[in-house]
């Protein structure tokens, strides 16, 4: 009897000190980013690395940080995939994608603009995380691809929507061929 009581008491205190679920675990799937992969336009099944790509959201001064480097280098990526956040308020987000950003030869620097149109839905996650937003890309016009003010040839040749429901970051939503 005494042991049972102590056991229960122990349990009660164990639980009362458990406040870990007040912190949203980083592994919990919350608001997903848009996952973009880059492919070779001439060989569409092969991934292709971008060179010094800088991605800046409309109205933002600084680009998306892609790595832990210091200075402007942290805004540049040379990989074949990027994940960019969409605005949870509103139904569209515009990005400018600059290839060969910071190159000394201005002829190589090429800026393309993409505007993504979508609808949002708010889903409950947990006490600690609150709600998350998931996105559904507009079925008829998921994106608008335009050239920047400087009228050079668009570096992005083709954009393919692989998944219009953005629910997690484990899959590629957009393929960009260049």
């Amino acid at each position: 009897m005494k042991n049972t009581f102590l056991f229960l008491l122990f349990f009660a205190f164990t639980f009362s000190s458990c406040e870990k679920d007040d912190i949203c675990d980083a592994n919990t799937p919350t608001t997903p980013r848009l996952v973009i992969q880059f492919y070779d336009f001439l060989n569409p099944s092969v991934l292709k690395n971008v060179t010094n790509l800088k991605v800046v959201g409309e109205g933002m001064q600084e680009g998306i940080v892609f790595n832990t480097a210091t200075g402007n280098a942290k805004y540049l990526t040379n990989g074949n995939a990027i994940s960019i956040p969409l605005k949870t308020v509103g139904t569209s987000t515009s990005y400018s994608l600059t290839l060969n950003s910071g190159n000394v030869n201005p002829a190589l620097v090429n800026v393309d603009n993409i505007k993504f149109d979508y609808t949002t839905q708010e889903l409950f996650v947990s006490r600690a995380c609150g709600y998350k937003t998931i996105f559904t890309l507009n079925p008829t016009n998921p994106y608008i691809h335009t050239d920047a003010a400087v009228a050079d040839e668009k570096w992005i040749k083709f954009i393919s929507v692989e998944k219009s429901n953005l629910e997690n970051e484990n899959e590629t939503h957009i393929k960009i061929f260049f």
């Binding site: 229960l8 009660a12 639980f15 007040d22 608001t31 006490r127 709600y131 998350k132």
Partner: protein, 277 residues
């Protein structure tokens, strides 16, 4: 939580004081005449008295009786919490009925209105609950004491509604800035839950028929009708829910015992040991 813990400890401390109170007995006044024996010199030798061994029987053990009845009261913890916590209103009535020497039928009925303010969510839970079950008194009382150290079980059922007052969107990549708190006001009606509780409790008779006691409860959800796109993060009677289906509870009660009938305690017959060969 720190405050809850602190108040919990202070209540435990308070309880220990009431135990002391309960154990107090009024000292028997000794007759001063009987102590003055020095000066009395017997005038004559004591007369021989025939010893009758059967006459000794008149100091036999008085027949002990157990009182049976209903104990009713309320939870002071819930009642007083409304005084210092503006987000909480609640009441709980408790009662038990003594079935046998050791077993009590026990029940709690309550109503709660609690607003929970978390980092990402603010919601109000309103509802009522009932818990019914039994307590087993594991404490062997001396003489006519009626204290209880019990362990028991309850089955709890609650109907309630939740109102989401405001919430925040979790965005691990706040490139466009942190999204502010979004007001909601959405209401989720017709929710219910049921659970099993294991109760460990103490009740001490402080005076006459008044008892004070407290109990600790470990709860496990059995059924839980969850709202769509929200969760029962607080259930009246069950309290806060955690990631699993377990929860904890606590109450501090003051009860009044209404005696209904008495039952004689059969003297315990100690069986003689039979020597085995």
């Amino acid at each position: 939580m720190k405050h809850t813990l602190r108040s919990f400890f202070s209540i435990c401390l308070l309880m220990s004081l009431t135990f002391v109170q309960a154990q107090e007995t009024t000292p028997v006044k000794s007759d001063p005449k009987t102590t003055q024996t020095e000066k009395i010199i017997p005038a004559t030798p004591l007369p021989l008295v025939e010893i009758n061994p059967t006459a000794k029987n008149n100091d036999s053990i008085p027949v002990k009786t157990d009182r049976y009845g209903v104990r009713v009261g309320l939870d002071l913890y819930k009642l007083t919490r409304a005084l210092y916590d503006e987000n909480y209103k609640g009441i709980e009535l408790v009662g038990d009925y003594r079935l046998t020497k050791k077993y009590f039928l026990a029940a709690e009925i309550g109503n709660e209105n609690k607003t929970t303010d978390d980092d990402r969510l603010n919601f109000t839970t309103k509802g009522s609950y009932i818990k019914a079950g039994f307590d087993y008194n594991a404490y062997e009382n001396w003489l006519d004491m009626e204290n209880i150290i019990s362990i028991g079980m309850r089955y709890g059922f609650s109907t309630f509604n939740q109102q989401l007052n405001s919430y925040r969107i979790y965005n691990a990549n706040p490139y466009f800035g942190e999204v502010p708190v979004i007001p909601s006001g959405k209401k989720f009606d017709g929710l219910s839950a049921s659970w099993i509780e294991v109760v460990a409790g103490v009740k001490a008779k402080v005076f006459d028929n008044v008892f004070v006691g407290f109990s600790l409860r470990l709860n496990r959800l059995v059924t839980n009708k969850e709202p769509e796109n929200f969760s029962n993060l607080y259930i009246p009677g069950f309290n806060r829910t955690y990631d699993g289906s377990f929860g904890v509870g606590f109450n501090y009660t003051v009860t009044y015992f209404v005696p209904i009938y008495k039952k004689k305690i059969k003297p315990v017959v100690v069986a003689k040991k039979v020597e085995k060969k």
